[in-house]
Amino acid sequence: MSKDVKGTYLAQSAAAKAASEGAVSDADEGRSQEASAQAAPAKSQRKGSRTKMVPVPSTSIVPERDADKDPVLECRHLGIDFGGLRAVDDFNMMIGRTEIAGLIGPNGAGKTTVFNLLTKVYQPTRGTILLDGVDTAGMDTAKVSKAGIARTFQNIRLFGSLTVEENVRIGLHNQVKCGMWSGMLRLPRHWVSEKEFHDRSLELLDVFHMANNAGDVAGSLPYGAQRRLEIVRALATNPKLLLLDEPAAGMNPSETAELMDTIVRIRDTFNIAILLIEHDMDLVMGICEGIAVLNFGKIIAKGTPDDIQNNPQVIEAYLGKQDTDQGGE
């Protein structure tokens, strides 16, 4: 099945710039013998040089409106091994600046692992992650967050003993600065920053109409509200890319519908890219522009919702082999 990746030429229509970047990156990975190409940073494009260009498969697509800008995220040959197990292998993906992308796949396909790699909860065994063109190699989770990736968690990870507002304030940690001494000695800087913390967190909570819950203890909130709070907290870090790990889990259909609206609204308001993992196909097909399908740690397809719904490999991955011929509908 691993060989099939090259077969998915869904992305031939991707923007020229993105494709050429992909080409350079492949050269970097050692396919080309030229030392100069290996040493060159991925970004530099030597237009005058006589490097021999070869066509390479790309598995990525981005929305047309983002095509002339740098993609916010680009993964190249990303992979991690746990012991002998290749949990994620040769993961290639590109996300446009304002794209709402989906990452789906059967249980255990490695979706959350991909999130953990992107946020450096796990250090990748191989491959490159470019965030807004910047290589995140050597960064830890905190630095990645500062660089612009925010996330929520599949099993909710709020600061349970703190209030809703405090949770958001902690999200704003790197947005509003105030040193230890200012806080300890209550210098003017502290009061200024506290006001800013307060105003901005209430503003953010308003996105989910949670301003009234600001004083509640986060751990005591109902499940759905906790999920929403996690999103607010992630947004507070002022990300370029928001990773949502099963945002609709445990929600009823009407809540899910509302969530779909909110996700789109977040993208429109904050002008950021969103990558979400979700099992609720109505949500994924409803709002995701590009969808990547992961199976056994590898992307088996990336395309539009229509492409994915009709892709035989995807159907096989989800339903097993016997149903292959039904794939065409």
Binding site: L158, G160, I170, H173, M180, G183, M184, G215
Partner: protein, 364 residues
């Protein structure tokens, strides 16, 4: 009036209030000679233990790390403080100024120790961190047992071998290895202890309710989530650890200068555990509870003196019982339901009273 403030501020004001009222009452009683010598003698140690409890609470309750070596920082502060106080003898006239300088120096020294210990320790978690703090506490004790400091006309002399190798002429030995420090000027007073509590309390409460404190609590509540919002986990764990060490050092100096002599043996594992007991009984992260429990548990063994031989046995039983009663789920739920019942009854009565007053038309 209090109701208008937010919950945290209100709670903090109550905490400060309790401390101030307690000080005023005790000071008044002491000046009027209305309390026993035994209690008067306990005032400064109680102040020191309260400061230690508040500072340890910063690590155990707020930062969520188990530290078993708090007495180590206390001892660093204690011995540093008394050396500094001795150096100031004759240079600085006022006792209060001397005490202040000594306590500040003690805090600085303990902070340095906190950084030296904290840097490696912060790589570990949970029980492994606990054992390493224990180990550092023992190492500090062992080093202090071999530390000799003397002062003569030419300045301070240090040695790790013996008092004889200090090479002094006609000076005084300030720290004499296992014999510890003797001839300490008793500079600590109840008032200075009270001020130190206020300082400790202010530092810790301010820290908790600031950007830094929220980051520390975020790391405690969920390390991975804290990292994911861009918080440098090691940095904030270290801040909590070092601030706590510095405050413990200051309390140590206060404690040491309440006695004419002090030995390194005092600052052993048992003292660390004692402070930890204060913190846990007061409620982890609960600063006010810690203050109350430190004061009560310091007095309790003294109150139990009349029992004689069975004193420490009773103390142990009290400790176990309190822990079980305050943490046993079944007992707690029974207590809650009992409280509910009482409240309902009083509510009923209140409602009844209102009903009778307004002729049963109170409900719209």
């Amino acid at each position: 009036m209090l109701k208008n403030l937010n919950k945290t501020t209100r709670s903090n004001i109550i905490t400060y209030g309790i401390v101030i009222v307690a000080f005023v009452v005790m000071q008044g009683l002491a000046m009027a000679g209305a309390i026993s010598n035994s209690l008067v003698g306990l005032l400064v140690p109680i102040c020191a233990y309260i400061c230690l409890t508040i500072s340890l609470n910063l690590v155990v309750g707020i930062s969520g790390e188990l530290s078993l070596g708090h007495a180590g920082f206390m001892s660093v502060g204690a011995f540093c403080g008394l050396v500094v106080a001795a150096c100031c003898r004759g240079i600085v006239g006022s006792d209060i100024v001397r005490l202040t300088i000594a306590i500040l120096a003690a805090g600085a020294m303990a902070a340095v120790a906190g950084v030296i210990i904290g840097l490696p320790v912060m790589r570990l978690r949970g029980d492994y961190l606990a054992i390493v703090t224990l180990a550092f506490g023992e190492i500090i004790k062992n080093l202090l047992n071999n530390l000799y400091v003397g002062k003569d006309a030419s300045g301070l002399h240090f040695s790790m071998e013996s008092a004889n190798s200090l090479g002094m002429q006609g000076g005084t030995i300030l720290i004499n290895g296992p014999q510890g420090a003797t001839g300490i000027d008793k500079l600590s007073t109840f008032a200075s202890g009270f001020v130190l509590i206020l300082v400790t309390l202010t530092v810790v409460l301010n820290l908790i309710n600031s950007r830094t404190g929220r980051a520390i609590m975020a790391v405690r509540d969920n390390r991975i989530a804290a990292e994911s919002v861009g918080i440098n986990v090691t940095k904030y764990r270290l801040i909590a650890f070092v601030v706590s060490a510095a405050l413990a050092g200051m309390a140590g100096a206060l404690y040491a200068m309440n006695y004419s002599s002090i030995v390194p043996k005092k600052f052993d594992f048992n003292t660390s555990i004692l402070i930890l007991v204060f913190v846990v009984l007061g409620g982890m992260g609960n600063i006010r509870g810690g203050i109350v429990s430190a004061a009560l548990l310091t007095v309790l063994p003294e109150l139990l003196r009349f029992i004689g031989d069975y004193r420490m046995l009773i103390y142990a039983i009290v400790l176990i019982l309190v822990m079980i009663l305050s943490n046993n789920a079944a007992f707690q739920s029974r207590l809650t339901s009992l409280r509910e019942k009482v409240r309902r009854r009083s509510d009923d009565q209140a409602a009844l009273a209102v009903d009778s007053q307004s002729g049963g038309a109170s409900h719209e």
